[in-house]
Amino acid sequence: MSAAAGTRIAWAVVLGLVLYAGVPYALAGNLYLMSMIVAALTIGGIALAWALLGNLGGLVSFGHAAFFGVGAYASALLVMKSGWPIAFAVVAGGVVAALSAVLVLPALRLRGPYFALAVLAYAHIFRIVATEWKGLTNGAGGLSNIPRFPVVAGYDFASKTGGYWIALSLVLAFVLVYWRVRESHYGTALRAMLHSEEATRAVGVNSTLLKAMMLFLSAFMTGVMGAFNAHYINFLEPDYAFSGLWTMLPIVAAIFGGYRTLFGPIVGAVVVYLVDQLVFKAVMPIGHQIVLGALLAAMILFSPGGLLPLLTRRPGRAQHA
């Protein structure tokens, strides 16, 4: 093992200890801040899924709230109506969200901006269906008393720290999956596809299939975050589960952090969400997201690659596209 790899592992261990033990220990007394961080991680997970679709699939989605909501409802209903264990139901929530993405497949035939808007329209459809299909979802009344995470080995995972550990583990697992996909031969094919879709097709890569797979993976991750959130806050209603915020916040977070990096979307989510909630919401109780819209516009104009690449750019080093 090289010295560089050893240093890397040492850093990973330190970071892991800080994240899993340090943060909960330091914030144990501050339940409010802890719940903010859990929410930020939830958004970070969606932001990562959104960035995966954008970075690897070359597709911009304005409708990830649809997958979030579908995952949340699927998991909550499987536990409440079919008595599934929560752990299975959360994964199933992701699977159902990925299945719901099948409906979006015809939109893959549309190029660029059309896909983005078609997904926005889908998010509208899902919200209306969840509101009107009262027999299944209890309509606008919502679902309350969704079962919480259970006590495992004497530890109550329904606590704030428990929720934090679950959210953190999910997000880190997503990072691992994202990294594996990016480094696999799928990742190579996807990169080639983004440079020239025609050329990639000519050498026998099925680009539509690849895009569809990225869409399913992204929808699955988003659905799992939705399912986690449903059991974490124990309540769902269509306007909450399918709220445009679940689309907007991850987009701002991913662009702010850098959507072509692995950790950018998550760092972006934590920074953007905490600053928005703790600073701007205090100043402007409603309409404070105007700042996030301005932030998104400013990032696109001045640093579309995000903040993380901007900070880590070393002077004198050659820039690759």
Binding site: G54, V60, F62, L103, P106, A107, R109, L110, R111, G112, P113, Y114, A116, L117, A118, L120, A121, H124, I125, I128, V129, T131, E132, E197, E198, R201, S207, T208, G244, M248, I251, V252, I255, M284, I286, G287, H288, Q289, I290, L292, G293, A294, L295, L296, A297, I300, L301, P304
Partner: protein, 290 residues
């Protein structure tokens, strides 16, 4: 029964004419710049709130707010253009994200200035019923139907008979060739944004004078305008008109025979059907590529 159907068709045509104004603006900008302006619905909403402010603060008829709305919305459209035109890299993707950011700012700006409450006009004159047999409508609906027809005729005249309008069509069909013919594409893009803003200003005052408005409406109008352009097929102006009427009629038939809650869903189902069956739209040239 026939009366109900006729009434619903009529009301769908009236709403559809305003939808057409909104969708034409979106299509015009997409034509010249290949940019979908996700803030377009919020520009319409801005005009609606200008009309609301004029009525509630100054007590004037919303119709008289149209000039103010034009100034405000065209200014906002010019700012949007100025920002979008600064994008150099990855224009297709970045312009979507940029206009999405602008849309978020406008929606939340509306929340800050006008609160989340639902607003509608207080003018009884605008809301008076005008009835011809089975064709029931409010005066405002009828007025804006006529205004829409005049505006669309004007747009058609502009696009086919004037130098600037022809330049817009030239840039839409082939930017490089248009440049070689001595057309400045940037001026044409600006013109398309201003005309889109003008149409949005009328549509916004129309939406306020016969409907209800709230900050979240902007996104829903953007989605509707997009659905119409998909129905129409890209780059087809008559297609936009037919698509808008189709959406308006579908919505009003659903309201009459099912429930108003399903109204938006019906439009979306129509959209899905077209997407699955006719991905090029009803009138589109073959544009769907790989």
């Amino acid at each position: 029964m026939t009366e109900l159907v006729l009434g619903a068709l009529w009301s769908g045509v009236l709403t559809g004419s305003s939808y057409a104004l909104i969708a034409l603006g979106l299509a015009l900008v997409f034509g010249t710049m290949k940019v979908i302006n996700l803030a377009h619905g919020d520009l319409v909403l801005l005009a609606a709130y200008v009309a609301y402010t004029c009525e509630s603060a100054l007590g004037v008829n919303p119709l008289l707010a149209i000039p103010v709305a034009i100034v405000v919305v065209c200014a906002a459209a010019v700012v949007t253009y100025a920002l979008v035109s600064r994008i150099r890299r990855d224009r297709e993707l970045n312009s979507l994200l940029l206009t999405y950011g602008i849309a978020v700012m406008l929606t939340n700006g509306a929340l800050l200035l006008w609160k989340a409450d639902i607003r509608s006009t207080k003018s009884p004159w605008l809301q008076d019923a005008i009835v011809f047999g089975p064709f029931y409508s409010m005066r405002s609906e009828l007025l804006f139907f006529l205004v829409s027809i005049i505006l669309m005729a004007g747009l058609w005249w502009w696009l086919t008979r004037t130098w600037a309008g022809r330049a817009v069509r030239a840039v839409s069909s082939n930017r490089d060739a248009a440049r070689l013919m001595g057309i400045d594409p940037q001026r044409v893009e600006l013109a398309s944004f201003v005309v889109a803003g003008l149409l949005a200003a009328f549509a916004g005052v129309a939406v306020f004078s016969f409907g209800v408005i709230q900050p979240a409406l902007g996104t829903s109008l953007t989605v509707k305008a997009f659905v119409i352009t998909v129905l129409a097929g890209m780059g087809s102006v008559p297609g936009v008109l037919v698509g808008a009427l189709l959406l308006g009629v579908t919505e009003s038939l659903t309201t009459t025979f099912a429930s108003s809650a399903l109204q938006e869903l019906a439009g979306m189902v129509l959209f899905l059907l077209v997407l699955f069956v006719l991905p090029n739209g009803l009138f589109g040239a073959r544009r769907v590529g790989t």
